[in-house]
Amino acid sequence: MQFSLGKIKPHVGWLALPFALVFFAYFVLPLVLTIIVSFWDYTDYAIIPDLIFDNYIYIFEGCLSNEGGLCLTFKTYLSTFFFCFFTWLITLVLGFCVAYFLAFYVNSIPLQVCLFLVCTIPFWTSNVIRMVSWIPLLGRNGLVNEFFLSLGIIDQPIEWLLYSSFSVILALVHLYTLFMIVPIFNSMIRIDRSIVEAAYDAGASHRQIIFNIIIPLSKTGIIIGSIFVVTVVMGDFLTIGIMGGQQLASVGKIINTEMNYLQFPGAAANAVILLIITIFIIYVMTKFIDIRKEL
């Protein structure tokens, strides 16, 4: 599996052309357009080609003076980072455990496939249906509250189960743990079992094996999974919107609202900033490993 780009024979390079074209048409081109439009002017009903920085200035208006607390943009990013960090942390721990179990404790391949399918269950229903179905579970009169009430643990329904940061992170973890499991599992399955056995024979404890062997050797999977989760959560507005009762801020929601009100250049400017920040986060992550070498 280990080869570098340099080893590909030159005359088969054209095989990459179809993908390069798709990549250009559906990724590079829209991105360039977004960047261009972010410098345009706009009214209620039209966007006007221009080269102005107003859209960017508008985003950071009031951010330097610090009057009346944090400005909208900083507050929104802080809230988005908050969701991003906790979702990342929890999906990482959960995803690592699940992948570890699948890779080292489940030995039959059919069973592994079967359990993988189980992990995809959250994606079997539409987003909206899944969101709506949290209400009967976590709501004021939902199953969880009724269960606790009947046991006498609480005498008032717990309000923060739904439409809170808790429910947002719960839903995000529920959705995106799979994105962690798959790459981590992929790394673990390629760890040479004899290394683990050798460590065991040399008297390493279970803990030492995990921290000194498994984790360093699954680093690629961990970073790739982290990139998936971070990029998806940074741009999310549906889950945060619905599970937060539309009362919690996210960058995605601001862009969505601006699009709905035909403020395309403003939305484009926000998107560019979001992109820069997300790319920076990914850049920092990839400093920990050389992905190309590890693959």
Partner: protein
């Protein structure tokens, strides 16, 4: 819901052949020569079932193909892809964005048979019995006419060219769960009453949400707006400050953006008082939950929609659009809309298609004599019940403001986002 519509539409295509065989021979009017014209109809299609298409084809030989999208998406499409549809059904409050673009033409009122019978709420801003309607916001009577068919600004006077031919409108208010509140609610101010802390909701659609917010602020006696539908920056600040404080203190259980979310919030009892739309009330009731579209003493927030002709529709297609609009106003659709709790633009023609009991219940605020059913056959009220808010005169006469596009729209959206982030 949309999926259901689609599949029924597909079913209709199959049956169209048989309808054509029986229908065309009898009713085919002069415009239709050989092949039927299909009009691409851009709109939210909230009120349009397949019965409408079927009846249209029977009566005129015309077909429509619905392009069903959200209100915001309708505006976007008109501005960015004006050649992707033949007729558009849009709201009056979008007009300040649409008209300056020149993408829609004024409709020639001389070609609309029932134009003189269109309710005076649209043409003069008064109810049929002469009661003055609140005109704050983008009231239809303020944006009804264009100077010419290609005008890009609104006319001050009555002209031959209408921006939109009105189709459907209603008066919106707060929805409540009377069984969970247990006392009468009479004012918009109740939305921020600490008694309902954590059990209130409003919508996260800034342009409509701010109007409801303004109704509340005025009802609380905090401020009296010269025009709720066109606030100054300081008025927006004031309104949002009051709502931000309420939000921070935990007044709202949630905000909603999707019609179904509002139904779920109410039916599950998470929320007992909230901004709501009339079909959502019907949906909650159909789940066996008590729900009232509560009339309030400060009045209603109204909205209205109508048909416009894009500049790209010409010749035979344009003739067909006029024929379609004339058919739409000729009564059958009007009755169909009135039975869903909306109002139709030409009342006398709709009356001919409704029974005396239906007309009495929906339009005159009388107690029903028998069961009142929706166009799909669902029972909406039993004998003896009255409509929430009463008669057409009482409801439309009680309108305080209309959905609006403000001059300070950009600032308003930003302030709204700040409230959400607070």
């Amino acid at each position: 819901m949309k999926n259901q519509l689609l599949s029924r539409r597909q079913a209709l295509k199959l049956s169209a052949g048989t309808v054509a065989a029986t229908g065309l021979g009898l009713y085919a009017p002069a415009v239709i020569s050989s092949d039927p014209i299909t009009l691409r109809y851009l709109g939210t299609a909230v009120s349009m079932g397949d019965e409408v298409q079927k009846k249209l084809f029977e009566d005129t030989g015309l077909k429509v193909k619905f392009i069903a999208v959200t209100t915001d998406e309708v505006t976007k499409r008109v501005l960015t892809q004006p050649n992707s549809f033949d007729i558009v059904d849009t709201e009056y409050f979008s007009l300040p964005k649409l008209v300056p673009s020149g993408n829609i033409l004024g409709m020639d009122t001389k070609r609309i048979k029932e134009w003189d019978n269109v309710t005076s709420i649209f043409t003069k801003g008064i109810t049929p019995k002469g009661k003055k309607v609140g005109l704050q916001g983008t009231a239809p009577s303020k944006v009804m006419y264009l100077e010419g068919s290609t005008g890009k600004s609104f006319a001050g006077d009555v002209t031959q060219y209408a921006t939109l031919i009105p189709t459907i409108y209603n008066a919106d208010t707060l929805g409540i769960r009377p069984d969970l509140i247990g006392r009468p609610i009479t004012s918009w101010a109740e939305l921020l009453n600490p008694e309902f802390k954590g059990k209130a909701a409003t919508l996260n659609i800034p342009s409509i949400g701010i109007m409801d917010a303004a109704m509340v602020v005025e009802a609380m006696g905090e401020y009296k707006y010269p025009d709720k539908g066109n606030m100054t920056k300081s008025e927006i600040d004031l309104t949002m400050k009051i709502f931000t404080e309420a939000k921070k203190s935990g007044q709202f259980r949630a905000f909603w953006t999707d019609f179904n979310e509002s139904v779920n919030l109410m039916a599950s009892g998470e929320v007992v008082i909230q901004s709501m739309w009339s079909p959502a009330i019907t949906a909650v009731k159909s789940q066996g939950k008590d729900c009232i579209y509560q009339p309030l003493k400060e009045g209603y927030r109204a909205w209205a929609a109508g048909f416009a002709l894009p500049k790209t529709t010409k010749g035979k297609k344009a003739d067909a659009v006029y024929e379609f609009v004339n058919w739409y106003l000729s009564g059958w659709v009007g009755a169909y809309l009135n039975r869903q709790g909306y109002y139709s633009a030409v009342l006398p023609t709709a009356k001919q298609y409704m029974s005396e009991d239906e007309w009495g219940f929906w339009m005159e605020g009388k107690a029903a004599k028998g069961d009142i059913v929706s166009p799909t056959g669902a029972k909406l009220a039993s004998a003896g019940e009255k409509r929430d808010g009463g008669s057409y005169e009482d409801r439309m006469g009680g309108v305080a403001c209309w959905n609006a596009t403000m001059d300070e729209n950009k600032y308003m959206v930003r302030k709204w986002n700040e409230m959400v982030a607070a």
